[in-house]
Amino acid sequence: MKIKDLPQDPSVLDKFTKDVVYAEDDSGNYTTGLSRGWKIKAEALNIAWEDIEQRIKDAKQKVNAGEASPVLFFMELRLMDMPTIAAYTGFWQWQVKRHIRPDVFKKLSDKKLKKYAEVFDVSMDDLKNLQLNGD
């Protein structure tokens, strides 16, 4: 890539920083330039976020339909997969999978619920009732 072809597309980095990029000058020597972003990269990131938002929406529907506990919803909201949530809560993955069942979730001790509330950064009430500000 030539330094004069360095993409300068708007990106989510705009208010934060710019990318340092290595590219060639006119005589083929490598130098660095600053880039606002690249459309292709921004689109890849957008697609990933669209998928996340869809997963959160699906999880919310499942919770409302009584097919899953709020643990599933908050897990998706906080972008956690099974290994990540297990590591943060200290539960085993099979335990988390059980806690996603609404009947099991209802019987969870306050101690366990508190663990989830801390990790998800929500109050106990919000955790139980799936209430989120502005959502």
């Binding site: 989510v12 920083t17 490598y30």
Partner: protein, 337 residues
Amino acid sequence: MEINFKHVQAAHCENGVTTNLLRHIGVNKITEPLAFGIGSGIFFIYIPLLMINNGPAFSYRTMPGLIFKRTCKSLGVPVIRKKFSSTEKAQQYLDACLESDQPVGCQVGVYYLTYFPKEYRFHFNAHNIVVFGKEEDKYLISDPVMEGVTTLTGYELQRVRFAKGALAPRGQLYYPELKNEVSDDMIRHAIVKGIKRNIRDMLHIPGPIAGIRGIRYTGKKIIKWRDKLGVKKAGLYLAQLVRMQEEIGTGGGGFRFIYAAFLQQAYTFHKTDELLKISEQFTKAGDLWRSSAVQAAGIFKGRITSQQDFNDMGNYLFEVAETEKQAFIALSKIKWK
């Protein structure tokens, strides 16, 4: 308390931390491309069974931590590295380093990294920063991908140092200690070592999923993704391939441009004309990776979704694999003086 530490922005975090910490102890000739090349940073791996953020796991660079470790070792610079099980001890150790004017590199997770844009904050735990001072409860942070220096509170820093999940940092910190001066001869020697190790990693690593064979393997898989996963999921996987290529600051070339820059800088230490020619081959590889990303975007945006488009995508990767293979073979034929 602030250590006289020079923050220089870099394309990639670990390169940047390595370069800035080495310069701090007087290794003035080190640059980001040199650190990347001496650390044998260029790589490729696709781990089909491992899922990251609900997508497949790709990497265009070597394992986190290795660039710092290899670069320091090759230059004869001893490294101090510590992990902690207690958050208090991790903070005490860090504070003691800062008291004695020692800036330290820290491995951190980005999910709770408050100064990052929200869209970048995934559960990714192999980011690197330098802590170089403390003012009341604010730690002074040099994050190589940021243009300027920034700060984190004690709580925020502890949270990112003890992020959990895959590659959990466990409070890990590290810094180089200078014993002897690093001479030009040592850099010259380290460059050859870095290149030879990279030839091994890209051409001769066993198994089908890593190095040049890994790129070709990924190409073959992509051709089958349309039937196997459906257009939508295949598109998500391709977006992941592009995002990992792009991490931050690779210019879309998946670190190939940085390696091309490294070979040009290596030439100033070894006047071997081949280095400049091979540098051009890595530029070509980087450009091809960029074109493949454009093709991938066509697919995940839903503009082009036929089997032929997936075949073309696979072919891009075969072409990249061949280009990089020839480049590494050419490197392996250099007679070092």
